[in-house]
Symmetry: D2
Subunit: 131 residues, 4 copies
């Protein structure tokens, strides 16, 4: 499991009084940073060979300003070029949002998908969702 | 069909040179504004009886700064309390992102889902995806 | 004067019920797009020779979701490399925010300021604040 | 001094390859959270009696994705209702942005400024910029 703590920001709330749903994909992007590090250990964004192909988010409970959020992530599936990441945002013991992101190992210059290398695959497998 | 034109903003790009994927849910929120108007004609956010239960987005092509984006939306399905909205972001003749949002007719005070009223249902049906 | 209309987005509000102050610099960035076009007519961001050196914003009145905002801009001063832009955000006849941005003509490769060319200076002067 | 560590997010970068200037006011808002706590110890946003009257930011150096940022803040001046906060964003030993925010003690119901109470004033004074 990947785990990242973030602290919600006032501007991430909306007039309904809680965190706006559009803030959650940005949180989940931050929650995938341990995955980014597996592909690019120094996090140099110019060399990061990843794109996002798909995101799904279910909004399960209100998330609020004023209490930390734990972003949990698990590798759900590794395809030839794709990595499916299950992510959850927990606050005060409640899972407020859960989603799946499909990340593609990608050559930004040639604009084409690349196979996930074996050594990266092994590191990713350490984060498989436990049954 | 709902159609809304937006103009991408520099800050919506990222270091990969194109629109960051987390900007798209915010665009789609704006693209659902015609739906918000059906529920709340004056767009007074304090009276807007809607929450988002789920979003899915497929990222199909790069979207860029410097050219308008047309946000297209269709009602896909109307449940008892839920409305499924299919949305697309088109730029320069290419569909860069497509997603489905599930919006719930919701009482923010009592924190419970409400049935979609018949007269609203009729207005929504004008925007059904044509077969 | 530059004038750009934008339509506030739900996610730009915050729990206080109106537009969060951090949304306004993003609006003003969009409001400087006519200036970006003077430097880079095709708006190709890879060739845009500008950086922001400073921003000031005074928040004068609440801005809300649900009504268009007009972003007005004027060139206040042109230095050797710098351009001072005065900007205002108007909604329902009220100026909700006013600010000054200092933009620098900049070589992103050599990381140094460049003089504002004479022909650009002439175009900018058309947008001088009228006395 | 207030000090808050944040970790830049990919979506906060822009196509120029570094942190977009519009991300910094959001960081500074987070950096003022210790001030928010002095006024509202439980951070309940519905009771937070503050508005922002003005922000100024000087952009001094590029800020990047991939390394933590320390947000430093000092109380610069306390007026009758206003608090001037000097803030800096430091990354890898470099101050990338410095700004002043003017926060007003404010009654959101009656829409009017309130004097800063003596006991809050005393707590704020602990964070005065040292000469």
């Amino acid at each position: 499991m990947f785990s990242t703590a973030i602290s919600p920001r006032v501007y991430e709330t909306d007039a309904f009084g809680h965190i706006n749903n559009t803030s959650v994909p940005g949180w989940f992007e931050k929650g995938r940073e341990p995955l980014f590090r597996i592909f690019t250990p120094d996090l140099d964004i110019r060399k990061m060979p990843l794109i996002l192909a798909r995101m799904e988010v279910d909004f399960l409970a209100e998330l609020h300003y004023g209490a930390e959020v734990e972003l949990r992530g698990w590798i759900q599936k590794i395809g030839n070029s794709s990595v499916h990441v299950l992510q959850e945002a927990w606050q005060n013991g409640v899972c407020g949002a859960r989603g799946v992101s499909v990340v593609i190992h990608f050559d930004h210059v040639q604009k084409r998908a690349l196979p996930v290398p074996a050594e990266i695959r092994m590191q990713l497998e350490h984060h498989f969702l436990e049954k």
